[in-house]
Structure formats: C-alpha cells, structure tokens
Assembly symmetry: C4
Homo-oligomer: 234 residues x 4
Amino acid sequence: MNAEPLSPDAATVVAALREELSELHQELVRYDLVVWTGGNVSGRVPGQDLFVIKPSGVPYERLTPQSMVVCDLEGRVVDGGGLKPSSDTAAHAYVYRHMPEVGGIVHTHSTYACAWAARGEPVPCVLTAMADEFGAEIPVGPFAVIGDDSIGRGIVETLTGHRSPAVLMRNHGPFTIGPGPRAAVKAAVMCEDVARSVHISHQLGRPLPIDPEAVDRLHHRYRHAYGQPGTSAQ
Amino acid sequence: MNAEPLSPDAATVVAALREELSELHQELVRYDLVVWTGGNVSGRVPGQDLFVIKPSGVPYERLTPQSMVVCDLEGRVVDGGGLKPSSDTAAHAYVYRHMPEVGGIVHTHSTYACAWAARGEPVPCVLTAMADEFGAEIPVGPFAVIGDDSIGRGIVETLTGHRSPAVLMRNHGPFTIGPGPRAAVKAAVMCEDVARSVHISHQLGRPLPIDPEAVDRLHHRYRHAYGQPGTSAQ
Amino acid sequence: MNAEPLSPDAATVVAALREELSELHQELVRYDLVVWTGGNVSGRVPGQDLFVIKPSGVPYERLTPQSMVVCDLEGRVVDGGGLKPSSDTAAHAYVYRHMPEVGGIVHTHSTYACAWAARGEPVPCVLTAMADEFGAEIPVGPFAVIGDDSIGRGIVETLTGHRSPAVLMRNHGPFTIGPGPRAAVKAAVMCEDVARSVHISHQLGRPLPIDPEAVDRLHHRYRHAYGQPGTSAQ
Amino acid sequence: MNAEPLSPDAATVVAALREELSELHQELVRYDLVVWTGGNVSGRVPGQDLFVIKPSGVPYERLTPQSMVVCDLEGRVVDGGGLKPSSDTAAHAYVYRHMPEVGGIVHTHSTYACAWAARGEPVPCVLTAMADEFGAEIPVGPFAVIGDDSIGRGIVETLTGHRSPAVLMRNHGPFTIGPGPRAAVKAAVMCEDVARSVHISHQLGRPLPIDPEAVDRLHHRYRHAYGQPGTSAQ
C-alpha cells in the first residue's frame, strides 16, 4: 500500500491491462467456466514488477476496469481502490516470480477439468486439437491448500519444462498460463473443451492413442503456422 | 388474510425484500436451476414474524416485486395481491419457525442434485470449492410428501448442526438456506455445480478423498477471509 | 384446400391460436428441445374440426403467426398461405380425431427423451416432480414410420387411459399432449427435464423407488391444488 | 495471389457468398459446435474454380463478409484482404476438386462427435432423425495430420458413395458436406445432435436397431418430401 506512484508510462500500460482483464473475465462467463464469483484472470504489467488481478468475491457483471486490483510480485496491493484482490493472489504472484515468461494466468473451477482433478488423473492427449494447444497430456499438480505458497509452487513445479499451458491441481481445478492474459484465457477454454470431449469419449470405451511423433508435429505447426501473423495462436 | 397492516418501517423493508427476491429468482433461471414455473426463493422479513415468497405457478419472466407473496410464519398469506404463495410455502415456514438464524431459503429441482437425491446418496466432499462452501458432504434428507410439515421437519432435522447449507431431500431435490436469500441462492448455485462436477468425476472412477483436517481449514478460511469486508462470502 | 371460409368467430379464434403457437414454438428453442427446423407444436381450434400447426422445414426464428398452417382433422390444409404443414401433421390429426380431450400436441427430438426412446425403455417415476406432472412412468410407444397412421395410432394406443401426457415413440422421440398447446409444451419441457435427471441418476447406481401410493397422492394434489386458480397446473 | 480479377458477375456471386458464410459461421456458435476460433465453413463459387472460406484464427464475433477469404481449388488465396485462410483450407480444396457435387463444407470439433472420433467408432443409425438426415451410420475416416492432402483424401474416400454427409475423422472431429454451405452447416448441427443422443442412449444399455429397410424408406422420404418445395431438406 505504501508503494511509489506509477510512472506516466506504466500508468498507461496498467490502464490498458485493466480494460483487457475486465473484458477477458466475461469470456469465462461466456464459456461457462465459472459460477457466481469463482475464477479469476490476471496479467503481468510489462516491464514492471506488478500484475493486475480480479477483486475477491465481486460478481462478474459488476467487474469494471476500475475494480481490478494492482499488486506487486509478493501479492501486496499497490492500487486496489479499496478492494481486496482475489483470494488466489498469492498463487498468481508466486508464478509470476518464478516463471518470467508468463504474462497471464487464469484459474477456474470448470466442470470437466475439476472432474479429472478430483481423481488426480491427467487428461490424455487423444485429440488433434489437444495436440495443437497442449502438445501433451494435461498434467496433474499436487494437493495444496490456499494460505501459503504451496499452490503457486505446485503450478510452477508441474508446468516448468512441460508443453501444456494448463495444470489440474488435485481436488481443486485448473490453472492456465500464457505469454499474456488472452492466451491464458484461451488455454482455460481449450482445457475445459478437451477435458469434456475426452471424458465423454472414455465413457463408452477407450480413445485411440495418437502417435507421439504426430503430437510433436501438430504442436510445432500450431505454434508456428496457425492464425494471422503476429497473433501467436491466441 | 385478516392480518394487521404493516408498520411504515416494516413496509419499507418488505418492499426492498420483494425487489431483491424478484431479482434473485432470475439467478435461478440464469444458472439453469429451474424449468417452467418450478423452484422458489424466500426471504425472512427482519424483525417481523413474516417472510416473502414466490407465487405459485407463475412463469419466471412474469415475476415482479409486486407478485411476491408475504406470509406469516405459519405460512398464511398476509399480503398476496390476490396470488397464492408457492406450493412449498409450508416447508419454508417450518424452517423459519425452527431455525431463527435462517434468513433465506431456496428450493429447486436442479438436475445433478436431483440425480443424487433420487439415489438417496450424499455428495462427498472431494473438491476444495466444496470444502469452502459446504465444509462437508451435502447430506440427504428423508422422503417426505408435500401437504404437511414433513418436508420442513426433514430439512430442519438434517441441517441443524450441519455445516452444509444444502440438503438433498430424497427423490425430490435440494433445499438451501442462508443468513439471507442471496446466500441461499449462492448455496443453490454451488450445490448444483459441485453435484455436477463430483458426479462427472465418479463416472470414470473414484475421486480422491480430501483430508478432513484440510476440509476444516478451507471451510474456516472461506467463512472468515473470502470476499470484500462485510459481504460474508456471499 | 377447397374448404369453406371460416365464420368470423372461428377466424378470431384461429388468429389467437396462430399467435399462441408462434410464441410457444420459441419455448422449444429456449428449453433446448429442438435443433434446426425439427419439432412442432399444434393446437386444436375449439369448436371446429380444425387444428393449427407449424409449417414444414421453416427455421424457428422465421416462424410468425401468419406462417402457421390450418388443417382439418384429416390433416388436409385449410389455410396454409402457400406453406406445407409439418411432416408430422398426419400424426397430430390422428390424435385429434381419436382423443377429443386433447387440445394441444408437441413433438420434439429432445436429447434425453430420445436416449430412452432409442433403447425402448420407459422413464421410471423416481422423482416427486415426475409424480406431479406424469403420475407414472413415461411409457414407450411402438416403432412406427412416418407416412401413414402408424405414429398417430401408436400415440393414441399408448396414452389412452395412461396418466402420462408424454409418450416416447421407439427409436424416434417424445410426443406430448395436453388440454391446450401450452400444457403440451409444458409436458415436453418436463419430459426432457425428468428424462435427463433420471438418466443421470442411473449413471451411478439405482434410483430409489417412490411408493406408488405416494405417487398417486402427489399426482392428485398437483392436478388440483398447484398454481393460481384457473391455470390448471400449466 | 497473381489471380485475374473476377468478372462482374462472379464478383456479385462472391459478395453474396461472403455474406452467407459470415452468417452461417454464427450458427456454429449458436449451436455450441465451436469454441474460440476453432471450426470453419466454406462454400464453392458456382461456375468458378473458386471457394470462399473463414480466415485463420479470427474470433467469431469479428467475422464479417469482408474477412472471408477467396481461394482457388488448389487452396491458393485469390482475394484475402490481407488475411490468411483457415488452416484447414487444403482439406476443403481437396474435397472441392474431387467431389464436384459438393458446394459447401463444414469442420468443427463438436464435443460428442469428437468423443466418437477419438475412439474411432461410427455413430450407429438408431434414431429416425438420423435415418432422415444421414441414411446410415456416420462413418469414421482415417487418422490424418494437417499439412498435406491426407485429410482431404480421407474425407473423399470415406464419403464417396456413402449416404452420410458427415465423416468423423479419427482422433480429430467431424467434416460435413452438402450441395451448398447451409446444407453442410445443417449436417454439422445434426451430426452433433445425433452423436449426443446416441452416446447418451448407450450409457445405460444398447439402443435397439432400426430395420435397414425402414432406414431406407425414411431417408428417401426425407430427401424428397420434407420442407417447403425448393428447399431440399435444408
């Protein structure tokens, strides 16, 4: 709270990020990934040791750019306009501190991802769309209780060196990362989509495996050739 | 019907509650917890032996603050504007009479909660979001038929001394309670959400249990630290 | 087509019914009971040997009161404004001819009802909401192919003397009846709702039976005491 | 890119097709067949060796007639307004080259169709609505990786001589064809609808088979007698 004021340049960047995060939270609603006030999106402030995150317990229809909370990388509020940040702030902060390539993080309790997470089972990579976006199974992270660094540590340990931008925290739900918040939201949407399709496929038998070499090829191509130039498969 | 007129203060409180209940009923629609005219929300009039409840058999899109029905704690209509109250009024009245801490009640036939209720099985607490909101399994109440006090008695007997604000009445569906109607609606939304996720998780195997001590810690923290000050995790 | 013009009174009744049917078709969309141009609602013209039904193959968003088609009880077009009636017209006509108490009919391919119908299994009455509306299991009718009276005959034979206003035609889907088209739409909505809840309940075990005497009591009460006076549990 | 300019007549046809495709893509969203930027619709330009297709990686809410990309039958961009065409363009081009009767193609990753595709199992024809639209089971095509002609070849080899306008490409998802893009979109909608109903039916047992002769009769009648004259069961 006793933070120095932002430079004019940083203030402009933060204002744009507040706007982007406010809109991206509506995608969580649109894709049915959240109920009531659950779930959150954050984004790193480029060039600053700061990130912006959803306030705690505020309904989605009342979220505005102004209601987003600016925190430092220890999770302390820098500019909250009187609002407390998401109760998952410590986990986001931990990830930003330990994964400098991460510019956006999303957490939801989306249904099918939670169903796999409750059993502690990874989602096997049996669809080409999953090979594209995740390049591998979606892995499971450890059981960890809110209140210290254990959730953040579990995310970092599981995703470091893994192609998947999503981890299913055991008995909890998915966290997704990306170079920016929009990519992390996309990963959250795709995570639920493939968790659902693969679950349903398993209900009547065994999905056929995809050859690992084909998974590699699909993932490489998707990362480098999909979408319009400059949009990075987001 | 031969009730005394409300004092001016009580009339203001009732008017605000009518407004709140009219809006809260739309949340049942938004979260797909009800079809046609099924389901209902009620709220206790603070400081009065009265509660306000949905009229019977009126479509959700025609509910207005004026169409809500004011009843006394025996379930008799005090101010109905010519409309009969919900056919579940006796059950709501029983709960308000016997659980003074309850300020709001919701009843739905939401799909997954009904699926557990039809088998008479509680929903086990295998997700951290469930530990947060329910602090335990969601219990099953007895089979009871509309028309006397048996539904209300079943709710009160099951929820008294239980952390869960939700009970699955056998072969019937969920009733949820809260300090006010908004908290009870939240519990109804969360009840269906976790009933669905845990059901789906069970379809492909056994969810892993959560250590009871961790359930306790999560529930305590959620009750006391979540959300903005003064909003009580609603 | 060579029908006599309607009397002024009948014309007023038909105009109101066209309006009602146009609106009721939107309920099929709203409750996700239909896709593309599938499904249809019809209503009998009171006091006339006529009924009004959806045109064939017209998208729901283009249905208007004017696009509805008036037929006689043999299914011949009396006033179609150039449009052909639903391909299920013969089945509706047969029911109106043989069940004078029926004033409205609905047909859909709603997902869970079709799933039971494809196995030829009735939906057992294991929820109080089902006892209320159906008073019994939802029965299965014979396999019958469009093109002659066999669908209509199957509906009439199955529903005559049965409490249920819904029949699942084998490998086909549900038909529902009611004293008017709105009641038949409600039965179609409730049919899918309970077919879904009971299906999901069965996925993890056996729903508990409801005592037949309790089913009787619930059904009787619902028929006579639910809703506002004069609305007949619709 | 070094293509000759379109004749004025062809330009008018292309403009109308851009408009139609822009609207048809919204049907994919409305029927929940796609998430994020996945899925695509294309339409052949009548009388030209050209087709029009969705741009790659552009969100559905930003698709306009102008953003659609015109390609030749080798999949080379003829008029893209600076946008790259869908990454599935080579597959669409292959189909248009080898199936002259095809005027529209749709690809999605719709949930239930993908669930069957991941197991490499065809959807059996156990519903009359499926006999109507598909006239047979929905077949499975080979596993094929994006990047050469193998997806297109798999579609053509599977659907040539088959009544079904839909193929489930193994571990990938459905492609549907039609005389025009609207018919192909309808097939995509119906494909997911029956894949879902038949999946759900299988969850609790075995759907009853439909006599092949009845399938033939239903399919023939639907192709020739459904809908308003001139609309070809679309």
